[in-house]
Homo-oligomer: 583 residues x 2
Amino acid sequence: MTQDSIPTQTAKVADYLFTRLSQLGIQSVFGVPGDYNLRLLDFVEPAGLHWVGNCNELNAAYAADGYARINGLGALITTFGVGELSAINGIAGAYAEKAPVIHIVGTPSRALQESRTLVHHTFADGEYRRFAAMHAQVTIAQANLTDPRTAAEQIDWVLEQVLVHSRPVYIEVPDDMVDVMIPATNLEARKIQLPPTPSPKHEELVITTVLERIYSAKRPLIFVDGESRALGILPQIDELVKTTGWPTWTSAFGKGLVNEKLDNVYGFYGADYGSKQSKAYFGSADLLFVLGPHYSNTNTLGFTTIPDQAASISFSGTTIQIGKDSYRDFSIQHFLTQLLRSLDQDRIPRAEGLPPKSKMDLSHINKSDLITQDYFYRFVNHIFSEGDIVATETGTASYGGRAFTLPPNTRMFGAVTWLSIGYMLPASLGAALAQQETNKNKPSNGAGRRKGRLFLFIGDGSLQMTVQEISTIIREKLDVTIFIINNAGYTIERAIHGRQQAYNDITSWRHLQALSFFGGGEEDAAKNNFTARTFGELEEVLQSERIQNGSGLRIVEVYMGREDCQGLLKTLLVSQIAQEAEN
Amino acid sequence: MTQDSIPTQTAKVADYLFTRLSQLGIQSVFGVPGDYNLRLLDFVEPAGLHWVGNCNELNAAYAADGYARINGLGALITTFGVGELSAINGIAGAYAEKAPVIHIVGTPSRALQESRTLVHHTFADGEYRRFAAMHAQVTIAQANLTDPRTAAEQIDWVLEQVLVHSRPVYIEVPDDMVDVMIPATNLEARKIQLPPTPSPKHEELVITTVLERIYSAKRPLIFVDGESRALGILPQIDELVKTTGWPTWTSAFGKGLVNEKLDNVYGFYGADYGSKQSKAYFGSADLLFVLGPHYSNTNTLGFTTIPDQAASISFSGTTIQIGKDSYRDFSIQHFLTQLLRSLDQDRIPRAEGLPPKSKMDLSHINKSDLITQDYFYRFVNHIFSEGDIVATETGTASYGGRAFTLPPNTRMFGAVTWLSIGYMLPASLGAALAQQETNKNKPSNGAGRRKGRLFLFIGDGSLQMTVQEISTIIREKLDVTIFIINNAGYTIERAIHGRQQAYNDITSWRHLQALSFFGGGEEDAAKNNFTARTFGELEEVLQSERIQNGSGLRIVEVYMGREDCQGLLKTLLVSQIAQEAEN
């Protein structure tokens, strides 16, 4: 196109942007209206996107993140300054844990910005670029759509970055740019997708080396970590796990990314989980296939579960590391596909000395026993079925949830690295909505109730952070069951420090009134509330028709001890008590 | 002190910091516990400070801002990454509207930071400085306490900046620095205060010029804007208004900073407020005494109320502007004190042609009339009494609240420039707490109920943003009455754009269950709820014993029309309807 040619196909900026979101598989957009994004919002529903108005912008960011992790991409729209800064902690979390979120901000018109007019939602100092500078710290790419000549290319470029990096991006749309016409031939002519990765020069060598390592392994294993999701290699992992039959473990971040019902899948790996034989096998493995590693202190239980690199082949970003040697610039997805095709099934060694899978023996629990953290999670495990989502908020719930054995195709969210308490409730809203949209396009499994079920386990402290999003879950008619763990405050913090300090207390709420307060239908508000203090009561709740086959939001308040915790948390608590005794 | 000398007086870093806060008049600190601030929190209550645990960090920042505007200084403590970023929009608001807030962040230990360990609450990339870089955009000074040799000086320097600029500052305390000993002789030897302002060379000239202008004025007036609070000149303004008897108006930001019961104080100035005579007087004044101007679009009704500088003497920051001439580097407080001392009472011209004060004629309202925005605010006005705080959240409430006539010593919060909806509820918590602390040290006014009363007017949309802080208001036993304006969504946004768009809708809540859900005492939860649809019902509520003389939190749900609004909002709405008719 020469400078003077007029494009034959044009579209308004907002239409172009929202059409692109639609093409990329986004069906719902989250956010909050504000003075500088109202004109932009006019275009959302006409573009065929569902608008989800959240109670505040942080919640919208969390929801878009949860949506992105299930759907593959999520988006939110906020307003300049106040809105985008309220959301920024949620954007940071998406950056930390590689959730592909598009943050669209409606900004003041170009005329106001260029004349440095002292408008509201600024510091009344004529400086309009601060918030973008802040977002540059927590997003992988940014675009400010101020010029119709470049806006389309900017949008396309930014959206390509979100696919490439699986990390949030930031798009500013000045109020007066919303309905400006821009060239739109690309909408049909150019699909936004991962750019092709040219075959790196070492490709053949690496394939050969990996195959040799596979064929010669004696004690092989597969370790699935959470960045596998961002790498888009879940189908390849599934095939690898099935084809090899090798024992497979996951990190907390990787949990829910492989089918735990397979005989060779052992679930979460860590000091307090699994049998001694598991640990012995893991420790003496001569080939560790490591997929999507994410080595933060929390995801590695204090750096204790990081596989020995000398015996590992790791797949991370665009790099394959074999022992000490790194090979860059691979498409991991492409490489694994190639590898699986090249595999000679007959030469794959069967893993020997396989550890037994740990069983859940709960037979010793009496109905009158008070509910405790150590058995609670395995006790409720049987309500999950294929296609569900299980969300465990940072705290005792995320520790406990590692013990779940998940049905196939069951995704799970837990504490990884960002650990912003309050995240999980709005993220559940987003995830459940994405799941419901996905399931609409799938054949029903017969029971006819599978709109998209999500089970959230959350402590009473975390709940207080973002509780109002319960009302959006109600409005969106999502099938969500929330187990509120009432243990009178921040038990995870009590375990870490300040066991008896008042700063770890919270105000006690009447949780079972939430459904009514936040606008639930009268029948739901009256009948969808449950409470349990003993395992007997809990079993009754789990068997009830409304939990098993009901719809909409259900709330179960489960009482547990103020200092009841497990694993590392328990160790920390015990050491505090010992110190107190010394003083 | 030479390099090798050992300071005779030392203190732990946390003790030093909290002692300084105490010395500066802070009695309560807001925040949320988190992994990296727990050790720091151990020192809060032992230092004699009251810890207020908020439901989330944004609410804590808003509360600290509200506290700061009443108390003169406020503080919050958050944790690294997740906590501080959740709070950052509140810090930005304090920056925009000059609230002196100290943001203290507990960060990972120096060892973890220096070794770039991949801990939680980071992006697992070894980069620890991003969040400080973001805070540098919204704070006036920053300190990272990593070195015991400089920590005390850093603390003192940062605290001086918050006094000088009346804007937020940022202090990072690494986890392992909390109990490190530092030199503490300054705690007694050096008071933190505004540094003295040397007399600028033009001082005498400026005093003389201003006096001449005063003595020769024919149609003088005083215009009080909101930065007068940050300038610390409220007593001088009070004296000036009383001494001159000149007609006095305020902006929205300035409202509540002068005694509106005085005959010459007319309250809020703007297109839709006050009589024609007021506007005529304002427009033809030959001397405008302008104090603490803050000229954002919202605080000047779209730049329509900015006084003509040619006829003005303006006092802003450290600058005095007389007509076209600017004189810098003054202490405005000192200058005004000098000026008042030099004033020859007999030569002060009496203002002539004073406009009449508008009266509130509500006699035409019938009991059965539905409540409307145009009369609601003046109708409830009579419940305010001396020493109260009135808070009007951005939206129809902040527009309506401009019509209040406030009793003496009644502070008011309204929409100024940042306009982050959700601000006002947590800010009310902070303000009411500061007021209660202040009143403890004052003689009772006899009625014996003046612990600190606050009246909050808030729309149902704004309420959803930060509603959970109701539970902290309950826990802190503050005397707060909340009028929830139930008009089914974001009416302010409907007025601006999207009158009938679904994105301006919200989920309907059962507001009168809030007290119970958020943990109110059983009697309060049952009896402190009120509702009104007509002016008759409203009057009954206002007359009730629990509203008049009760204590704790009371909630009044007031129903108003979905599109009922006033002033500029009404103009915008009418123009939308006209456009719709055209299309």
